[in-house]
């Protein structure tokens, strides 16, 4: 372990402790928007991640942290059935409220209209204008009323803190926006459908610090209406945004990703129960 990494770890712990007694608490009675129970994802004969059991507590931000390749994104994508296309096989149980996400009668389209997603790289539809991008989800779900679309677009763009920037050029192509603006647009596009849950897969990894700070602020604000799962490599981001944190690590023996600890962000970073978590958050594991 180098001095630099331990210094970073110390700073994270300081930052967490400075936030006082908040966010520590028993979460057993908090309602869960999404419940994952013994979830595992396999790609053919390759086991990506297993033994994942934790809730996404309603109207809270939950960070999924861990080293590369330990299955954070895989778990995130399992929640809105993105593996239907990529060929991953999901076992165990994922429930959205009372609805079994992988239930026999469950319609994946309806699951995805209730669980929004923001990807690592901004991916606005290149052939659509800014407005059309934001309203696309609504139109895909059969809403055609112009007035409703317009209102929803404004409110979503406002929630994503992009409205003031783009209100005078809604009909311009979305790809003319900067990277950070494009990612806000993608957040607005996901929010316009009023999802109950928003999955964010390293939404700031392609962005500069200013855009990152702005999006982190948006994430914190959004939590009052939406339950958020945030995959991040950035420990500071987890401490800044997340109420709760799930730590994923690779099993030392067979290199399959696992959930090793779940708890309030403060507890994870200040007094982790599992020694492996402590090693990871203090920078002793790469």
């Amino acid at each position: 372990m180098s001095d630099t990494t331990s210094a970073v770890a110390a700073r994270i712990q300081q930052e967490v402790l400075a936030q006082g007694p908040g966010a520590v608490g028993v979460l057993d009675d908090a309602p869960a928007a999404v419940t994952l129970t013994d979830v595992a994802v396999d790609f053919g004969s390759v086991h990506a991640v297993r033994r994942v059991t934790f809730p996404l507590v309603a109207n809270r931000v939950t960070a999924l942290v861990g080293p590369s390749g330990c299955g954070k994104t895989t778990v995130l994508r399992a929640i809105n059935r993105m593996h239907d296309r990529s060929g991953g096989k999901v076992s165990g149980s994922i429930r959205l409220g009372d609805l079994e996400v992988y239930g026999r009668a469950t319609q994946p389209e309806l699951i995805r209209s209730r669980i929004g997603m923001v990807f690592q790289r901004p991916n606005p539809f290149p052939t659509m204008s800014i407005l059309d991008n934001v309203t696309s989800g609504l139109r895909f779900n059969g809403i055609r009323n112009k007035k409703i679309l317009k209102e929803a677009a404004e409110s979503a763009l406002q929630a994503a803190a992009l409205w003031d920037t783009v209100k005078d050029r809604l009909s311009q192509p979305a790809v003319r926006l900067s990277g950070g603006q494009q990612q806000r647009l993608c957040i607005a596009r996901a929010l316009a459908v009023e999802p109950e849950v928003l999955l964010m897969d390293e939404p700031c990894s392609a962005l500069d610090p200013i855009s990152t700070a702005a999006i982190e602020e948006t994430i914190v604000d959004l939590a009052s209406e939406v339950t958020i799962a945030l995959v991040t490599h950035n420990m500071f981001q987890a401490t800044r945004c997340a109420d709760l944190t799930a730590v994923f690590l690779l099993d030392n023996d067979d290199h399959i990703g696992e959930l090793v600890e779940y708890g309030s962000t403060q507890q994870i970073f200040s007094s982790p129960a599992d020694p492996r978590t402590e090693q990871y958050v203090t920078g002793q594991v790469s």
Partner: protein, 310 residues
């Protein structure tokens, strides 16, 4: 972040803002109610596409089945090892046509492949009127009736020499060229621009980047393009009639007329003699199998190259 989970008002899945809850209900109900319609539209389109696929496959399968049915009776060892016999003499074969087709098309590919690659590299490197003109010319050339290409080879090669296998190779090379040019270009365009820049940024010369990164990255596509051109040329008849004209004897001399499978099909197939007609069907069957093997080998090769490069 500093909100106390214990003291915070019990969060409900619908959030705090009643307007949001109302909109959410409206959108989810629209999603639910239109799902059936959206699904049936999707199903209808899927059925339409499926029907079109089947309709497209019917003539193809019928053709393969019919050629197989008619041609399979001609199959025997002698058919592959003997040269043609006159009508009434049994035991004839098409060995000279098989070897002739291999030699002529092999030569044509050897001529067309480097030209095609170089021209397509030019098209990749240069933008502007010259490149556009070449591209337009290639498209025009690929639409040209192959009999004109035969006449062209006849007038620039045969007239000044004599009927020969190499003049046929020239004709088929001209025929292959536009397919290879456009196919190679497409294949190399799929190599991302970032890789060009990555190569250049390491101090490599343009030509070195092309060789080590662009051409290598495009190999599966290049192989496919060249095989496609070969498969197209192998079945062409008209260019051969003006150049190699066919032969009854077994010849390995590229300076002499040579037999080829399409010529057997054309000449024997139009006679009145059942024995020769059977030879024509047999040749058609062999030609078809040859193209099939070519395609399968090409695809396997391309797939292996792609796997390796990952």
């Amino acid at each position: 972040m500093s909100t106390d989970l214990l003291e915070a008002p019990a969060p409900s899945p619908s959030g705090k803002d009643p307007a949001v809850a109302e909109r959410r209900t409206m959108i989810q109900s629209s999603a639910r109610h239109t799902l059936k319609r959206r699904r049936s539209v999707a199903l209808a389109i899927r059925i339409l596409f499926g029907t079109c696929t089947v309709l497209t496959l019917i003539p193809l399968i019928a053709l393969i089945a019919y050629v197989t049915k008619r041609g399979i009776d001609a199959m025997s060892v002698a058919f592959f090892t003997h040269t043609p016999t006159p009508e009434g003499v049994s035991g004839g074969g098409i060995s000279n046509a098989i070897v002739g087709s291999l030699i002529i098309n092999g030569m044509a590919l050897v001529i067309a492949m480097p030209f095609g690659l170089l021209v397509s590299l030019f098209l990749i490197e240069r933008r502007g009127p010259i490149a556009n003109a070449i591209r337009f010319g290639a498209d025009l050339l690929s639409g040209l009736p192959s009999i004109l290409i035969g006449l062209f080879a006849y007038s620039i090669v045969v007239v000044h020499t004599h009927f020969s296998a190499y003049s046929a190779a020239v004709a088929l090379a001209v025929l292959m060229l536009p397919i290879i040019i456009r196919g190679d270009e497409e294949a190399m365009r799929t190599v991302p621009a970032e890789l060009w820049e990555a190569g250049l940024a390491l101090g490599a010369r343009q030509s070195r980047v092309v060789r080590s990164v662009i051409v290598r990255g495009a190999i599966p596509g290049l192989v496919t393009a060249n095989l496609l051109a070969l498969a197209r040329a192998v079945g062409e008849t008209a260019p051969l009639l003006f150049t190699t004209i066919g032969s009854q004897i077994f010849s390995l001399s590229i300076n002499q007329p040579m037999n080829a499978l399409p010529i057997v099909i054309y000449q024997d197939g139009t006679t009145a003699f059942p024995q020769l007609q059977l030879d024509a069907w047999g040749s058609a069957f062999v030609l078809m199998l040859g193209v099939l093997v070519l395609s399968i080998v090409g695809r396997m090769f391309a797939a292996r190259m792609t796997r390796k490069s990952r």
